[in-house]
């Protein structure tokens, strides 16, 4: 690898990491509109249930939002009457293990891990997940075309999960 190629690789890895960290910060701080702006127009937000590799077109998922349903989710949070987020969950998440898994035509498949501490009216809860992103270059920036959140305990009964994960 030439010096230029290496620098390009490092810059790309850093760009991707910065995207993932920014997304985490927007989620933790409930900055809903800025988070929604990270999505492409054909974005899919998917949190499977009962395993990581179920068929979402035949089996129930915890979240399986197309772009318009993502927008509806954000609108609901903005009403001020989404009771489960009043008061909002206090969140502290660490995102790590950011790895570029595949690249094709300006799209990047990226894997990461998230460990999320949630403090809510019910209790303090820890959520763990492996996340897979499909990031697409749109002009100067990266956007999420797909985010799949594989919760470590998605095969078990879960308490309400109403913050952005």
């Amino acid at each position: 690898m030439s010096q230029t190629d290496l620098l390009q690789e490092l810059a790309l890895q850093r760009e991707i990491e910065q995207f993932v960290y920014r997304e985490a910060r927007l989620q933790d701080s409930h900055d809903y509109d800025a988070w929604e702006a990270l999505w492409t127009d054909d974005g899919m937000y998917w949190i499977p249930a009962n395993g990581d590799d179920i068929d979402p077109e035949s089996q129930m998922s915890i979240v399986y939002d197309n772009r318009s349903r993502i927008a509806l989710r954000i609108k609901q949070l903005h009403t001020g009457k989404r009771h489960t987020q009043i008061p909002r969950s206090r969140l502290c998440r660490v995102v790590s293990n950011v790895e570029l898994l595949q690249r094709k035509d300006g799209e990047y498949t990226v894997g990461a891990k998230a460990l999320i501490f949630e403090s809510s009216a019910r209790a303090d809860t820890i959520w763990g997940a492996r996340t897979e992103y499909l990031l697409r270059r749109e002009g100067e920036t990266l956007r999420m075309a797909r985010k799949k959140v594989m919760l470590s305990n998605n095969d078990k009964p879960l308490y309400t999960l109403s913050f952005l994960v």
Partner: protein, 414 residues
């Protein structure tokens, strides 16, 4: 501990009914381990030797189909030392071998054998089978179990609720519903009776669900308003419903109950017309599916079913999945999509319901002033319909009062 007679009154119930561990233990004996409890659907074990893990309250129950097609409900506990027998959620096998000492049981519960059999000389294997739910019965594919060897039949227990299951099945062009989409498991730090009451509480939707009603084009809110012609009904035996048909008949548009129109579902409508004739099909598609809570744990909410699992006085799981109509793929896709949006841990509706379950639980714990929850809404306008059932207006608490009347009779029984 005060008795149920003292704690359940005509228009109020005592807070400790939700928060007292001793009462929960009594409920296990008198309700969950006695009355008919919904366990699963026959379509979840379609083939010989299929099995799926289910529950009755805190008990893990294997629902199996034996080689002759009969359905059994077996406790997931080895008859030897109580080890959990099966760790798989579902599968297909004719026998289960305990990994601890190798005891093997048929999927009928019978002990087939144990290793090193000379150590069990003279032991009667027929006495060492798996624990079984002694009575298993089905109604239109819905499988119920009762731990009581004797008692009312399932038909007697269901009573008028059976007609709601008929209505549900009739909305399918094949006359059959299936449960095939897997369950979301939503846990709540709350007593199971808060969930049961909420399912047919027509008073809460406009408040608890104000957020989603205001941003989604949903007609649901109006069904539960002060001017709605819908009816809250006590069907007896603890079963209650919100009968929305008066509103749907007033609006008179097929598939409006599902928030859509006949034009958008041409395939389904054609099959319904072929199955029932145009006139009857139209009526079915106007009336829609029921909104009924079958005591103590099966809630049919138009497009999905919830199965309530009581785990402790302050811990309950709602298992929820989309109803699927056999032979109606275009409708089934929408049923799944709407269900996934509405329910489960992240659902537009259920996440807020669960928030209320948990807040009411915290509210009644150690409650003084008031010690009682007031359930008197619409008492003055409670009336009987043509079939003799107690009914009230759409937002009246006639349903909660019906649930508690039946609860009291079960808890008072010897």
């Amino acid at each position: 501990m005060a008795t149920a007679t003292e704690m359940v009154r005509a228009d109020r119930v005592h807070g400790s009914l939700y928060s007292d561990e001793a009462i929960f233990k009594a409920e296990l004996e008198k309700i969950w381990y006695r009355t008919w409890v919904y366990v699963g659907h026959a379509s979840e074990v379609p083939n010989a030797n299929d099995f799926i893990m289910k529950s009755i309250g805190p008990q893990q129950v294997l629902m199996t189909r034996d080689k002759n097609g009969e359905i059994h409900l077996l406790l997931n506990r080895c008859a030897h030392r109580g080890n959990q027998l099966c760790m798989d959620q579902k599968g297909n096998r004719s026998s289960f071998t305990c990994p601890y000492h190798g005891w093997t049981f048929a999927n009928t519960g019978q002990l087939r054998g144990f290793p090193f059999a000379t150590g069990y000389e003279g032991v009667d294997k027929s006495q060492l089978g798996l624990g079984k739910v002694p009575r298993v019965a089905q109604y239109r594919g819905f499988v119920f179990g009762s731990f009581a060897a004797e008692g009312p039949s399932l038909e007697e227990h269901l009573g008028a609720a059976a007609q709601a299951l008929d209505r549900l099945c009739e909305t399918s062009p094949s006359g059959e519903v299936e449960i095939t989409a897997g369950f979301l498991q939503h846990r709540a730090k709350s007593n199971w009776k808060f969930l049961v009451e909420n399912e047919t509480d027509g008073y809460h939707p406009q408040f608890v669900h104000a957020s989603i009603f205001s941003v989604a084009k949903s007609g649901i809110g109006d069904l539960y308003g002060p001017h709605s012609t819908a009816v809250a009904r006590d069907l007896g035996n603890g079963h209650t419903e919100n009968d929305l048909r008066p509103e749907f008949r007033r609006i008179d548009k097929p598939m409006n109950w599902f928030g859509t129109s006949a034009e958008r579902l041409p395939e389904y409508v054609a099959k319904m017309n072929a199955a029932y004739g145009e006139e009857k099909a139209r009526q079915i598609m106007i009336d829609g599916t029921p909104h009924i809570m079958i005591f103590p744990n099966l809630f049919i909410a138009e497009i999905q079913i919830f199965v309530i699992q009581a785990l402790a006085h302050d811990e309950t799981i709602q298992h929820v999945t989309a109803l699927q109509f056999k032979d109606a793929p275009d409708l089934n896709r929408r049923l799944r999509q709407q269900t996934m949006g509405s329910v489960g841990p992240a659902g537009f509706l259920l996440a807020d319901d669960s928030e209320m379950y948990e807040r009411t639980q915290r509210g009644v714990t150690h409650a003084i002033r008031p010690e009682w929850n007031y359930l008197g809404r619409g008492l003055h306008r409670e009336r009987r319909d043509a079939d003799g059932f107690l009914i009230g207006d759409a937002t009246d608490e006639v349903t909660s009062r019906g649930i508690w009347r039946h609860y009291r009779s079960l808890m008072e029984a010897g």
